[in-house]
Amino acid sequence: MTREGLTRRDVLKLAGVGGVAAAVLSGCGPLAKHVRRHPYHDMPEYALPGKSVYFATTCRECPAGCGLVVRTVEGRAIKIEGNPNHPVNRGATCARGQAALEGLYNPDRTRGPKQRGGREISWDQAVDAVAAALQETPPEGIAFLLGLAPDHLAELVYEITQALGAPPPLRFGGLAMMEARETLTQAAEAVFGQKALPTFDIARADLVISFGANFMETWLSPVAYAKAYGAMRQGHPGRRGVLVQVEPRMSMTASNADLWLPAKPGTEGLVALALGRLMAEVAGVEAPAPFADVDPAQVAEQAEVPLAKLEKVARYAVEKSESVVAIPGGVVLGYDNGADIARAVLALNALMGDLGKASRVFFTPPAGGQAPLPPASFQDVRSLVDRMKAGKVQVLFIHGVNPVYELPEALGFADALLKVPLVISFSSFDDETARYVTYHLPDHTFLESWGYQRVQVGADREVLSAFQPVVVPVFDTRATADVLLAAVQKVGGALAEAVPYKNEVEFIQKKVADFRGRNDGIYQASNPKLFWAFFLQHGGWWTKEATAEPVQGKVVKVGTDKARFSQGDLHLVVYPHPLLGDGSQANYPWLQETPDPMTTVMWNTWVEINPMTAAKLGLENDDVVRIVSPYGAIEAVVYLYPGIRPDTIAVPMGQGHTALGRWAKDRGANPVALLGAGTNAAGDAAFAGVRVRVYKTGRRHQLARKENVVGVYGDGRRIPVTKHEAEAATSKHQE
């Protein structure tokens, strides 16, 4: 085509010039610069324009109870920082805590109380509905399902259910399912004589042997453990603690280990027993009963780990270490013999004591002598579902948990919900469960809330960690405790007498009043008002001195039942996403954008497959595969993962939402769909007892990963992913 007349290109050029001129002249005019400033009508005493105001509060993105200090500027929360004095996290925060502001200011939050079908209602109508539910339902037909945080709400609900004569609230959630807290608690009771979650003082241990405990990602109190890990490695001059991890899939915790032993799934308990026997042999004493019953050579063969490695670990434990801890947790407790594995591993701690090693296990003393309401076991939730299915539950209140998403479909929670005439959710988001509810009465997010959390694990002293609002509520939400208390007052009579609190703050003030009499706290106050001010200022109450003492366990009998698995080719490890946790934070864009530590993948669900297995199945990176278990099927994108057993695949939990918000919805897959509803001997979910088959779909999806597309020029500048490549890259630079 010859260039004749005015071409399209010329017109575009002219339009471009004109457009730029128009934009510059109008967009940069005097008006573009001007804003309006709205000074306070009445400025709070503490506010200075342009200066930050800091509020101490507690993180509720997981139940660990880390202390936070939130920076606010003129009424807006700007940055989350760790509370440097808090005994759990000592100033540090994890990625999930950092991103909490994206929950507070999330555009997809539920903005006000609603009825089924999305019709907006007033808070008065909401309170009426709750009051009617409490008044008109026979007590045994009322059920509360709560999350593991906050504790003050659980305690208030407990009082209400006691006054009504209703069953006590169940506390559960996806993270609780993956942590198998009941299993650990029962094993601790058997070995240490205390029915509570043990804390392992890895900071002062010379050798840590972790059996599946992913204690630096999501397990129980990850920031406390990460802090201790730093101290274990380089905290004591001349002494560097060593970490050994036994589990089928290399978790982020295992990736930091000096030795990773990928034992065959289900044999971890035997490995613990074999290690115990070897240690006793090195020490020259006769191993006690459960340890003596195993033959290390046989175990090594069965577990597919080299006997030489086990011997070396045993020798290191006996000859080089003053203290050794063995931690059971994570996926290892998720087999149907998980309860035995927990006992075997804890018994190993007891054996180390018998061999003269210092104990590094302690129990966090419960704040004020009152343990928080313990979480339910999977078994308890299953019986709730059975009662719901049988039509025995007329009213179900749900707070702090998203059961339709977090619990296996095999449990049938969603179907059971349809049998409950009245379901009331207090979720701050339009989550999967909220679709099934009659009323959705959104609670504040924790940054707008009052409350407290009794620290259960990770602290060496009593800690009552305080919540306070750091900003005024962003939307028309209301504290669940206030809604319940308003309803209680509306019902009146004996119930109002038994639960005599005007509002949430009064309830909390009554609950913390006893601490004022204590003279071992970090502060003393002469009157309740001053105590309350100190309580909020410090972010809670804890004792000046560490009071937790190491405990000595006793060797107990351990069952040696083999783990049973469903039919299939490959073992399936489902683990909570290190950043999204159980998925409740999947709508926080920066948690989606933060690369997964191990795979550097963002914004999607991947399936980790050993490169050797992938080669056998003809799979490559970015292939979409269909994973089928006896209970369900999902599709996920292949990530060739060197740190996993060839007979195992792993999928993180946290994505695959069908609701929750724009950044979470229709993204990735939820591997919980693959899990069964079976339990172990302690009543916790046997979520690791599943085997699956993997099918190639022929489709591909490019995973967003940080590792090979760093920089502004994309694919062309792949960064070195192995040490060999790094060295090659370095030498190239030198050439």
């Binding site: 010859t2 004749e4 007349g5 005015l6 010329d10 017109v11 002219l14 010039v17 004109g18 457009g19 001129a21 128009a22 934009a23 510059v24 002249l25 109008s26 005019g29 005097p30 008006l31 573009a32 610069k33 001007h34 804003v35 309006r36 400033r37 709205h38 000074p39 306070y40 009508h41 009445d42 400025m43 200075l48 324009p49 342009g50 200066k51």
Partner: protein, 179 residues
């Protein structure tokens, strides 16, 4: 090589395009010229407060000595005095309306910096620089004039460049004001 017909067509198209472009530029210029800084919600008179009554700047802009922003007085601060005064002028009446509605007064700032400029009053005030040095003879103003055009980077540096070398390094460094 075009035919006469196509050349004719080209000329017409060019004229049309130029007219369109001219119209666009004219329109934009009109937009630019017609843009006015919005009026203040009420005609606050600095002359009366500063020159006649002798109020210190810090009485109302109390944060200037200790923070980044000098701050605008709260409505309550205004009413601390005005509550005892019969509202006579239009401005006083408007003030009272805002007070009674318990609403902030939506002021239009006259000394405003772009988003990428980080100015802090505190170090300037603590070095003894008088408010008038940057804000002009405020005591003479009836209505404060728009200073945003005048207060540009060259104007900032007109002081900074005269500083002693040990201060100049730091106070001429980009990151002092841009971050």
């Amino acid at each position: 090589m075009g035919t006469p017909r196509s050349q004719w067509k080209k000329a017409v198209l060019t004229v049309v395009a130029l007219v369109a472009l001219g119209g666009l530029v004219l329109g934009a210029t009109w937009l630019y010229a017609s843009q006015q800084v919005p009026p203040q919600p009420l005609e606050f008179n600095h002359q009366v407060h500063v020159q006649q009554l002798g109020l210190s700047c810090l009485f109302c802009h109390s944060n200037a000595a200790r923070g980044k922003s000098a701050g605008l007085p709260t409505t309550n601060r205004c009413m601390g005095c005005h509550v005892q005064l019969e509202p006579k002028t239009e401005a006083e009446k408007i003030l009272r309306e805002y007070f009674e509605k318990e609403e902030p007064i939506p002021w239009v700032p006259v000394a405003i910096q772009p988003d990428f400029v980080y100015f802090s009053h505190q170090p300037h005030v603590s070095k003894g620089i008088a408010c008038e040095t940057c804000h002009g003879e405020v005591g003479q103003y009836t209505i404060a004039p728009d200073l945003s055009k005048k207060q540009n980077m060259g104007w900032c540096l007109s002081c900074h460049k005269n500083l002693a070398p040990e201060h100049f390094t730091r106070l001429s460094s980009c990151e002092t004001c841009h971050k």
